[in-house]
Symmetry: C2
Subunit: 260 residues, 2 copies
Amino acid sequence: MSALPPSSEQAALDPGTWSAPVVGVLGGLGPAATAVFLDVLVRATSAPTDQDHLDVIVSQHSSTPDRTAAILDPTAPDPGPVIARDARVLERIGAEILVLPCNTAHHFVRAVQEALSDRVRFLSIVEHTSATAAHRAGAERPVAVFATEGNMRAGVYRDALERIGQPSWEPPRALQESINTLIYDQVKAGAPVDRDLFDRCIDEAIDAGAGVVVLGCTELSVIFDQHGFRGDERIVDSLTELALATVTAAGKDISPAFRR
Amino acid sequence: MSALPPSSEQAALDPGTWSAPVVGVLGGLGPAATAVFLDVLVRATSAPTDQDHLDVIVSQHSSTPDRTAAILDPTAPDPGPVIARDARVLERIGAEILVLPCNTAHHFVRAVQEALSDRVRFLSIVEHTSATAAHRAGAERPVAVFATEGNMRAGVYRDALERIGQPSWEPPRALQESINTLIYDQVKAGAPVDRDLFDRCIDEAIDAGAGVVVLGCTELSVIFDQHGFRGDERIVDSLTELALATVTAAGKDISPAFRR
């Protein structure tokens, strides 16, 4: 391999050894959620050997400017062009399916989609999660949305649910503060998670009349995955929905543990 | 972003927005272990916010030919050139530190290192793990090596330990069969893990006189991480050792939970 002069090589995955379609993951938003996404993607794929799993390229771009900060403060650094540039790089390397396992970042998704050619299929975590949540909640009851301040302010889920005719429910101030604590002070900070606080937040939304609670922030997905909430009928987890959509779009079967 | 004509762009990470040094992960060997590696890398980094974490690019090349098969059968497909080619791609994209979270693949590591320029620092999971294991076992007692058949046959750890003057201990046949079951029939197959079998395997090696047991296969690292063995003094986990070496080489501090 060392005999190849650098100039003769493309910085692209070798199509002779990589299995199509290669999945590109725009990661690092945040870093812990991306690791869990990759893990769920593996566990959700029906694959008896290593070689049956998906081929994936992950840009764990942790230093991407904060998404909520950019939504709340117009003078803060804009993550949109950064994510769009990374998307272009993943396409040029060889990704044909692209996912962004961060709900808040979907506020900037138009810039990402415009950066891509028609050769790439972009799967929206927000659209896939909204569809499942609306189906599970039914037309009578609203879908509660647990997400970052930035996501709520931008109405990422409210708008997506509205587009499919589903009412949404927004946490009152005190509940949103608890959600912020779970996301920023615990998961993103690498601190211990208050499992009971998370459980009480879910209860409060259901007691208020919500049909289901969407975990519309992948940091909350980390709690869902690692603290025993998988299978909880009150919850539709966005990271899981994106993983299932990815496995299916890439032509693989869902593993028995994730089938429904 | 869409205004940029494709031909004017390099398929390289934007050095203006990616934080140096970018870590490249040669992943997918196997896929579950790579997801755990990424998770441990995040948890082992002292970082109060997303932006304080490492920037990483992961090639989750699940379809890479089986490493053990290639060692045991000279007519099986050779993973060496495939991994070396991926290493070149990660370098050209912008990685400056490169890691391969698969012990068995280190049999093919010369091809990988020869494919890289002097600009890239390659961290060897085998060398870092052997150094920690020798230190922990002391000069009097051998280091037990739990690994794949291919790894054992190639003597990947035996040779690395020998180079630093440390005796190694190889599991007898029945114990190796149990290790094979844990690696292939359970973790790689996505089947439930027999935690007690794993525990008994560790005990058997310690009872036979080993100072510590090296988990020299990242599938065993998945059991270590996900089934409550972290902190077990009998064990030196290769995936953890590589994550700690990566965090340090990239100039970050180790998080309190992983300090020692």
